[in-house]
Point group: C2
Chain length 479, copies 2
């Protein structure tokens, strides 16, 4: 996996952090946070917090005591140990887009299917810069609603050997996810010792955690599986229109969810989540890749480190309807700050289109291209006496060229990152080759990747046990 | 103009800078720099440097003494004082693409004409984020070769009231540029007191300054007009394949050119130039927006500041043949580091396509969009007690929305940057509106901008004097 050893780009002064600190403290203590699950409220009450119905008025120092119990860093195992990831520190793990009901492929935009899900899983398996297919890379609308989480999990577990995300639609789905993970890894003890999945728990911002997400959080935290406590903030709708206010709210929400996880199981792994952008104030539609979201992202990294927590943010977010220039510049407006901030868990790293409504195959390939470039860019230079290559200068002298220099000949195969998608063909050659733009080439690459795809080996007994589980549970769920 | 008050992203350690320092010192003293102009060699010889033909073996400390004479910061006046720029410090000035012989407009790629040049000048005038049309925004192939610099200057001076770049094809062209600038600004004294143009002097890398560029440099430096001394480095061809070696070479070349300017006129303004990317080692074609070029850019800012010099780098560089996803992500791979490095003079900020062979109208609009977003992003947050918007939280409470909150109503018109090109329309609306991708929309905006264009006022007597000069000189030049 990728380790980002470059400096963090931090833009908040100590004064600014102190102001944000006063901000979130007022929110949790004076307004409180709603937890729409009686068991959650009871845990807080038992721990001495003031409760009024679903609302919990939280002592900020109590929150910080709970947060301090969470590990700064932790491992998440994949069934292929070489694909296991480390969450926290300088490590960055990347997963695919999460949640879209639609797919786009060439000129066609349509409802996503289970076959699409499988193809995205194959793509995620194929690219080494992607650490996880994620969770719902595309909603399989043709699979029965109540049991499609089983289909997605089975596809993920058999078509990839990378780590994955847990289903969070309900506590029932979370238990199924854990049960299938037990089968895949050989029992609950194994995954309690080293977690095997990450699950996304979104806040119903502002200041409310809803019952279904909380049900899932209870299951996962109790089983020592990391959850990403993520305020869902589109400034102007779910938070105020000033970035500092959104940041204070984000801290209040994320830390309150993290505190809950620590009450459920002290020491269980958590991730400080961030999903922070803004709406268009005229149309109300969400915007992505905005300057405001980039600023928020840079601040979030610094804030999460301030609290000693690994964090999630970033991705190839954009509002574009097609994988064109806007899709690319908005995505990079988010992905480059994602690296500058040193984000530990990056969701939506590949495939996101149209504000997250669409998983796009071509965009997946474009995003992987950008990801590879950024991983190269965020690898520190080694500046040594030898790297000065004085002999090459002495050999070439004035006005010559280095193409045939000894120094070049020894390094030309590996000296620069070679893009697999970008074209630097001259115009005549590019025209002869069909005048294919980037999206067209990405479509060809995606098809080729699927053709070349080889499923990773899996013990046949485990596969059968998984399939039995899926069939039994589907029957029980009435699908 | 834009002032970048955000922190610089610096990635070189003190040890690394010390190593680079030893690197350039060895190059200038042991290999030497060629100056293919006897007057240049004589100046160095008279100053005590060892000379062998065109080659000058330079004492690094002598170079640093000369460099120390150059101003850290300086103003460049535009004929409209509100458009004047400051070069250095936190200031960033942006000019258009420079040099392409072709233009692209929609599906058509063709030779550039003088009319294209004029249209790009109108676009440069129309966008406040662009400080200068630059120099040769498109080569006017339909204008007579020997006098086309006069046509470009006349177009720039009459269609825009922003600062511009000097012609560097020859000493003759430089003198014409200065003479027309004298007319526009009311005499040589005025522009010697506050410079009125910036000129690009490229090194014929490795380690050679050629006669025609040097002829222009002599004219401009003698007239106290800033020159950008720019090593032209495509790693693998004009420099070794290791980034550190290219950086050492870049310092050697830039500082040697700067030292020459200070011998021509001590204290004259200069800019540390950088044009640093790499070739594809299989095809030999130049690549842009590469990870290696981004790393080089970040280092260059730090190096220029180390020597107390304003610097030039960056732009919307890319290799793409069309204004598509690749054009956008490669451009941003350069433009975002351009801001992170705090580049003072940014050439190629708008319009660059196809490795610099093409000025593209749609790309110009796309680049301006990105530029506006980045200028917003690199504006520091103000985090104050008031910005916490606690009252808004108290008003909205849990699970509500902020659309109608008082805090929102007071700020909704200006709270977020509103893009003029990016679309966040929902799919149905976007389809009804013609399913236009970003390049198509950019084409519409470009035509609309040209329709709305109003020429800035210019004293009729000055216009006539300029025209007389152009006509007289064209006749003298035999065109």
């Amino acid at each position: 996996m990728f380790v980002n050893k470059m400096p963090h780009y931090e833009i908040l002064s100590e004064d600014a952090i102190a102001t944000l600190d006063r901000g979130w403290r007022r929110i949790v203590s004076e307004i409180g946070i709603e937890f729409v699950k009686p068991e959650a409220v009871k845990l807080f009450e038992a721990a001495g917090q003031r409760v009024d119905g679903d609302n919990v008025f939280l002592d900020p120092d109590f929150i910080l005591e709970q947060v301090a119990k969470a590990p700064r860093e932790f491992d998440v195992q994949a069934r292929n140990p070489e694909r296991s990831v480390h969450i926290g520190g300088q490590h960055m793990a990347f997963s695919s887009v999460y949640g879209p009901p639609f797919v786009r492929e060439g000129e066609v935009r349509r409802e996503a299917t289970l076959d699409d899900y499988r193809n995205f899983a194959r793509l995620a398996q194929s690219y080494s810069s992607i650490d996880s297919v994620g969770g719902v890379v595309a909603e399989p609308n043709d699979a029965p609603l109540d049991s499609r989480h089983l289909d997605m999990l089975y596809a993920t577990m058999t078509l990839t050997d990378k780590m994955y995300m847990g289903n969070v639609v309900s506590g029932v789905n979370a238990r199924d996810t854990l049960a299938m993970t037990d089968i895949l890894f050989g029992g609950r003890d194994t995954i309690e010792e080293t977690p095997a999945l990450i699950s996304l728990i979104n806040c119903n911002s502002p200041l409310r955690w809803d019952d279904r997400m909380l049900d899932a959080q209870f299951e996962y935290s109790a089983a020592n599986q990391p959850v990403v406590l993520t305020p869902f903030l589109l400034m102007g709708a779910m938070s105020p229109v000033t970035i500092p206010a959104a940041l204070a709210q984000q801290i209040a929400e994320a830390l309150s969810g993290i505190a809950l996880s620590q009450l459920i199981r002290p020491g269980c792994p958590v991730i400080f989540g961030s999903f922070l952008s803004n709406i268009d104030m005229q149309s109300g539609s969400p915007q992505f890749g905005t300057p405001e979201s980039a600023i928020g992202l840079l601040c979030t990294g610094q804030i999460a480190r301030h609290f000693g927590l690994p964090f999630r943010s970033g991705g190839g977010l954009n509002s574009s309807q097609v994988p064109d220039a806007q899709a690319a510049y908005e995505s990079l407006m988010t992905m480059l700050p994602t690296f500058l901030a040193g984000t530990n868990w990056v969701m939506h790293a590949a495939g996101w289109l149209e504000g997250g409504l669409v998983s796009c195959f071509e965009k997946y390939v474009i995003d992987v291209q950008v990801l590879e470039m950024l991983q190269q860019e965020f690898t520190p230079l080694e500046i040594t006496e030898e790297s000065m290559a004085f002999d090459a200068h002495a050999e070439v002298g004035h006005g010559g060229h280095f193409l045939g220099a000894m120094h070049t000949m020894e390094r030309f195969r590996t000296c620069f990152y070679r893009p697999f998608l970008s074209s630097s063909e001259n115009f005549e050659r590019w025209t002869r080759n069909g005048s294919k733009d980037t999206a067209t080439r990405a479509g060809e690459i995606y098809h080729q990747k699927l053709e070349e795809y080889q499923p990773p080996p899996l013990d046949e007994a485990i596969r059968e046990e998984l399939l039995d589980y899926v069939n039994r549970r589907r029957h029980e769920l009435g699908d």
